[in-house]
Symmetry: C2
Subunit: 337 residues, 2 copies
């Protein structure tokens, strides 16, 4: 067993899309746990669009990752050394361990992973923050009710694919927006969406007027940009727009235009609301119980795209998110080097 622990650190803040100059790979000895601590050997790291926001030096819902710091990330790994009785060697855990091969933790905000319910990568997807984001964003922020017409963008992604499925199993009509025929076929096939719009090959606005002629009750937005505008143009009275992300503009170097159709909120008595999933930490048990039950009964399909390559592949794998190259939850296998 190696004694080296490698990690990805922020070398400099990216302007536009992160590239090789954004990151440093460093190496240090595997950390030894102090009393009350344990060391985790990381198996899988979660790659998320939100990571791009954490690189900007602006006031936001969390402080930015500092220059020279290990890149922030959720991850799953196995306890390899322990001085904490609650987390013995061999236990599988998830937590905000960062992009590192080994991490030390005192157990705070660490979740013990039950592999009998779902394999480890799923605990970074449907049973992790993306799952809770979909659950609380749709049900609480979006105030979903049976019979609603729900539109979701980034629909083949980690959050979007769950939003659509939760809406379906609660009696909604669901339209997903995704890029390319493969993703759209997955949505209307295995996931059971009522319809999918391929934004790369058709006009979202035109498709929406055809697929939701009476308008939409909930738009769950993961992408922003012109797709948000098209959705705003099709709101039904009392509609809720849930702002989860805006990946279309995350790497932009020019100022991005705002949604020019925002006055649709006024004439339709609609609302547009943002949220941060960590505000729901107290209610995670509720969300985890529901999601676990849906998974156990086969009502929710979970899918992770596990990319190989470990630490060295972090930068290129992160780029897949901005290329729309992943389907389902993008996870980095941290073992392969």
């Amino acid at each position: 067993m190696t004694t080296a622990n490698r990690q990805v650190r922020l070398a400099q803040r990216p302007v536009g899309r992160p590239d090789d100059n954004t990151w440093n790979i460093t190496s240090e000895p595997i950390p030894e746990p102090a009393d009350g601590q344990f060391t985790v050997r990381i198996d899988y790291a979660s790659l998320d669009p939100a990571m791009r926001g954490w690189l900007n030096d602006v006031r936001s819902y969390v402080p930015p990752v500092g220059i020279g710091e290990v890149m922030r990330a959720h991850a799953v790994g196995r306890v390899s050394s322990s001085k904490n009785a609650d987390h013995p060697v061999g236990q599988l855990v998830s937590g905000s361990f960062g992009i590192t091969e080994y991490a030390v933790s005192d157990g705070r905000d660490v979740v013990v992973v039950d592999e009998t319910l779902a394999p480890a990568p799923t605990w970074l997807g449907a049973l992790g923050f993306p799952g809770m984001t979909a659950y609380f964003g749709l049900l609480d922020v979006g105030r979903m009710k049976a019979g609603d017409t729900v539109l979701v963008s980034g629909a083949a992604g980690a959050v979007g694919s769950l939003v659509g499925q939760i809406a379906k199993l609660n009696g909604c009509r669901v339209v997903g927006i995704a890029g390319g025929p493969d993703k759209c076929g997955w949505l209307t096939g295995e996931l059971g969406f009522d319809a999918a719009i391929d934004y790369k090959s058709e006009s979202v606005g035109r498709a929406l007027r055809k697929l939701a002629p009476d308008g939409i009750d909930i738009y769950f937005d993961n992408v922003g940009g012109e797709i948000l505008n098209s959705a705003l143009a099709c709101l039904r009275e009392g509609a809720r727009v849930v702002l989860c992300g805006a990946i279309s503009g995350y790497n932009a170097t020019d100022p991005q235009p705002g949604p020019s159709r925002y006055l649709s909120l006024l004439v339709n008595r609609a609302s547009m609301s943002g949220f941060i999933v960590t505000d729901y930490l107290d209610r995670f048990p509720e969300g985890m119980a529901a999601m676990s039950e849906w998974i156990r009964r086969g009502l929710v399909v979970t899918r992770e795209q596990v990319a190989p390559g470990g630490i060295d592949a972090f930068a290129s794998t992160l780029g897949m998110l901005f290329d729309g190259a992943n389907t389902g939850k993008l996870v980095l296998n941290m073992h392969e080097q």
Copy 2:
């Protein structure tokens, strides 16, 4: 007494700012009431920014005014002839009578005006739709609570001046945005606002950072445009943006940019909501009771700017709204010709 009844009709839909070609003035005999109806001689007509929206041939919360139709307007007048026992001759009433010297009504949606509480023009302002817009927009849509920092634009207008006063008397800190030193002086003087920003002479963003360094809890937006963007940049966690209007863009012929800072809603877990005051018709008794009591006790200052000139002055007086030339509720005196 004349037997002619003159009215303003929509001649053609304006592109940009309404002008002389937008309107026709027509004349016809004073209408005689049928059984159950009564005729009203109009004293005062309400001129409102929303009127501009009613001229566009688009799907909205009300149908557009049709070409050749009498311009839609709220008005106050006295019953001059009646075959309706509930509305005898001499009674003062308000309703959606239009820009016309005489109107016939069957009493539906007509309010009997109590002049002992406030003079007739006030029933088109604080005791009319603007008052109810301020009341329900702030308290219900904005979910105002004591201690909130409330920002309102168009603050010297019919709705804005009431929003700020209602917030003040409920224990909020209030900052108003208006154009020019006279309006700003009125806000911080007679109306008791904590601060006013003159958008014509200072940077709203810079002023906001100084006047509300901890951010704002409610932004009540009457204007849209760059001021909305500046407000979005200063939201506090959980803030509510209430969309009431967007007069800065109503006459624009180019597409207006949207609020590029809208992702502030996301990171601040904030919301932006539109509403239409007529959705609250069922609760008007509550709002009217509160507003009446505040007026009676001198807690709310009401102000109307009554413009002279009658029918012939409608077009030029309406333009005052887009020039920011009015302070308080703009009302047209329909008697002077």
